[in-house]
């Protein structure tokens, strides 16, 4: 049996070894992230059947759980870890050819550590350890946002850093308060003691947590950094930030609301925040007529809103929908940024008007872009249709007026979303014919970019046609999140 702690140890060790490798040959460093993440993907897939049967609780340091940090490798943690390794692997393959600014060896180290941080967040069972991995993720993303060393990137990074650090402060304050009230840091142990505390204090601590993680998850009104950071960073970084980094914030909020705090009364409020975020994000994306990456970034804000709304529904079905949407959005948005990255590179501009007509010059990239866009809008037979459908079903099944209203608003937002994505796709295929004569040099993306793009497009279609690929696992994951008594006993009564 492989130890799940290797999921984190392998990428960490590879990242530490990278500077040594760079002393020998800088060219070799770009192979490290794909190899490490591929190893993680394999370990994750090997562990999956076992974990679906029974969760694995790993004590790090060899002492029983409340006294040391433990990894909680349940269906939720492991399925997200597999998603992170998969997306991370594909984006790292893309980056092998895409990243040309020096010092490239530093880019690859930072990138690998960003994914390691995300892996740690989803696997850990200790609230302070979660904070530490969260900081790893955040600091790596600040540095990567500024990687191009150009004007917008640097400015976006400092904005992101300031807001993110204030957010981290709130998280740390909340952890301190939790420790002051309960005298323990293990999430299961805290969860077991939560009923003894006063609701007001719990609400305030929860509010600090939501504000703190909300900055990274970009829920309204804490999303000011996101459009700048995601549009100014290199496209491979935008892909991983939109695909993975903001999802970890959402995961942390869900974990804290459900497992840690059992905050049933807070959920309607969470849904409301989600719907507002959704509407704000989609409207802002619709108004972006210039910069394609900015449009995609705002669309990410909208989808985060949808996921948060689904988390707030508060039923097992709602959580299932939220996780499903999280997976499909991660795949599709990652694909969109990767495809857009090479279109921008070939066209030499981020302007929507300048990438018009590229559909004929870069057929595969453009088709993949279209697939991902249709999936995000929620057209059958793509993956996004199934996930959106399950969210709306969950909202309708609650039979509560508030959720029905929210669902109606969310549907309207989807229409807005369809509007701006169709505009781009129309431009891609049916416009800019005269400009193309001059842009004869524009050709298809290279193989290192096409492999991840085609694989992601294939996954989006495959999940849409055959949702059972993921639904069983996600069902287990939603149950893990919903059934906190089982979580507590799994950790505290581990042998």
């Amino acid at each position: 049996m492989v130890s799940p702690s290797l999921l984190i140890a392998i990428p960490l060790a590879s990242a530490f070894a990278a500077p040594l490798v760079a002393l020998g040959s800088k060219k070799l460093v770009k192979w490290i992230p794909p190899l490490a993440l591929a190893a993680d993907l394999v370990i994750g897939l090997v562990l999956l059947p076992q974990v679906l049967d029974k969760v694995i609780v790993v004590s790090i340091g060899g002492y029983p759980p409340p006294f040391c940090i433990n990894l909680m490798v349940g269906p939720l943690g492991l399925s997200l870890a597999i998603l992170i390794s998969l997306v991370g692997l594909l984006v790292s393959i893309y980056a092998m050819g895409y990243i040309k600014t020096e010092p490239t060896e530093k880019y690859h180290v930072l990138y690998l550590l960003l994914t390691t941080g995300a892996l740690g967040i989803v696997l850990t069972g200790d609230i302070f350890n979660l904070f530490v991995f969260f900081e790893i993720l955040c600091i790596a993303s600040y540095a990567l946002t500024a990687y191009e060393k150009d004007r917008p990137g640097t400015e976006a990074a400092i904005k992101y850093l300031i807001q993110g650090t204030v957010g981290s402060t709130f998280i740390l304050v909340a952890i301190g308060f939790l420790y002051g009230l309960f005298g323990t840091l293990n999430m299961a142990d805290i969860a077991a003691r939560v009923p003894s505390a006063e609701p007001l204090h719990l609400f305030l601590i929860l509010a600090f947590f939501v504000v703190g993680f909300g900055v990274e998850a970009a829920i309204f009104p804490l999303n000011a950094w996101l459009p700048d950071a995601h549009s100014s960073a290199p496209s491979s970084v935008s892909a991983i930030l939109s695909g993975i980094a903001i999802k970890t914030g959402v995961y942390a909020i869900a974990r804290i609301c459900y497992t840690l705090m059992n905050a049933q009364g807070f959920l309607v409020f969470l849904s409301l925040i989600g719907v507002i975020t959704l509407v704000v994000g989609e409207i802002a994306a619709y108004r972006q007529k210039g910069d394609i990456k900015r449009m995609l970034a705002y669309s990410s804000v909208g989808h985060i809103g949808l996921i948060v709304f689904a988390i707030g529904i508060g039923t097992s079905l709602g959580l299932f929908g939220a996780l499903f949407q999280l997976v499909t959005h991660a795949l599709a948005k990652c694909l969109l940024f990767l495809a857009a990255g090479y279109m921008i590179y070939r066209a030499g501009s981020k302007k929507l008007s300048d990438i018009e007509g590229l559909g004929r010059r870069m057929p595969l990239t453009a088709v993949a872009f279209t697939v991902a866009a249709f999936s995000l809008v929620g057209l059958p037979p793509f993956a996004g249709f199934m996930s959106k459908l399950s969210i709306f079903c969950a909202a309708l099944k609650t039979d509560r007026a508030a959720y029905l209203g929210f669902a109606a608003v969310a549907l309207a937002a989807t229409v807005i979303e369809a509007g701006y994505f169709f505009r781009v796709i129309q431009g891609l295929y049916f416009k800019g014919g005269e400009k193309l004569q001059s842009a004869a040099g524009v050709k298809e993306a290279p193989a290192t970019a096409l492999i991840p793009i085609v694989v992601l497009a294939g996954l989006v279609v495959a999940i849409g046609v055959y949702p059972q690929l993921v639904t069983d696992v996600l069902d287990g994951a939603a149950n893990e999140l919903f059934n906190r008594a089982a979580y507590i006993s799994d950790v505290l009564e581990a042998p």
């Binding site: 130890s3 702690s5 290797l6 140890a9 960490l12 060790a13 990242a15 530490f16 500077p19 040594l20 760079a22 002393l23 790993v58 790090i60 340091g61 060899g62 002492y63 409340p66 006294f67 040391c68 940090i69 020096e102 010092p103 530093k106 880019y107 930072l110 550590l113 390691t116 740690g120 200790d126 302070f128 350890n129 530490v132 991995f133 900081e135 790893i136 600091i139 790596a140 600040y142 540095a143 500024a146 990687y147 060393k149 640097t154 990074a157 304050v173 308060f177 002051g180 009230l181 309960f182 005298g183 323990t184 840091l185 293990n186 006063e198 204090h201 305030l204 601590i205 509010a207 600090f208």
Partner: protein
Amino acid sequence: MRKAVALLLVLVVGAGFYVVLANIPFGVDKADVANHYVRNGARETGAVNIVTAIVVAYRGFDTLGEVTVLFIAAVGVGAVLLPASRPAAEEKTEASLIVRTGSRVLFPFIILLGAYILVHGHLTPGGGFQGGAVIASGFLLLYLAWPGQGAARKAFSAVESLSGLAFVAVGILGIVYGVGFLGNFLPLGVRNELLSAGVIPIIYVAIGLKVGAELAGVVGHLMERP
């Protein structure tokens, strides 16, 4: 306008602090899990400094994550700043004779003090972070005395890598010996002796070297780049 909004937000947050903190009595024992560490820490880990026992043994995973944060900061500072152009670095004026002589005399002692602090982490206050910070300030002195000398950048990154790998390797050896990642697989030895407490001194020396090299790297990057 900006200031008024800021003040309002600060007041709201302050009110939140007040409400929660009023319920956490000061100076009263509310520790729960901590009592286990206090009662059994010295026996279970062999380290008489319980803070060290927690930082390295019970919560060693946090520490691994945290040296990673510093590693990212060192790499990131190098990645976001423009590369140093050689001529600009040489133009800098050398520091005065007093600074140069003083740092030449002081440097070995600072490194010695840092090494002492980080080696005795499990016995006395101090340890890897503190010792590493002291070592880094020794290198800060060198940077001040000889600006633009580049103080062996490659050696720093090699030390960083090797000590980080040593940390992870000790962790994985724990798995091999069947005590779990970062578990202790060495004999605890005699209390209060330098070579006791199992893997704690090894890990803390690795942390100290790593933290020292990383902090020196961050400061060095900031000082050298244009």
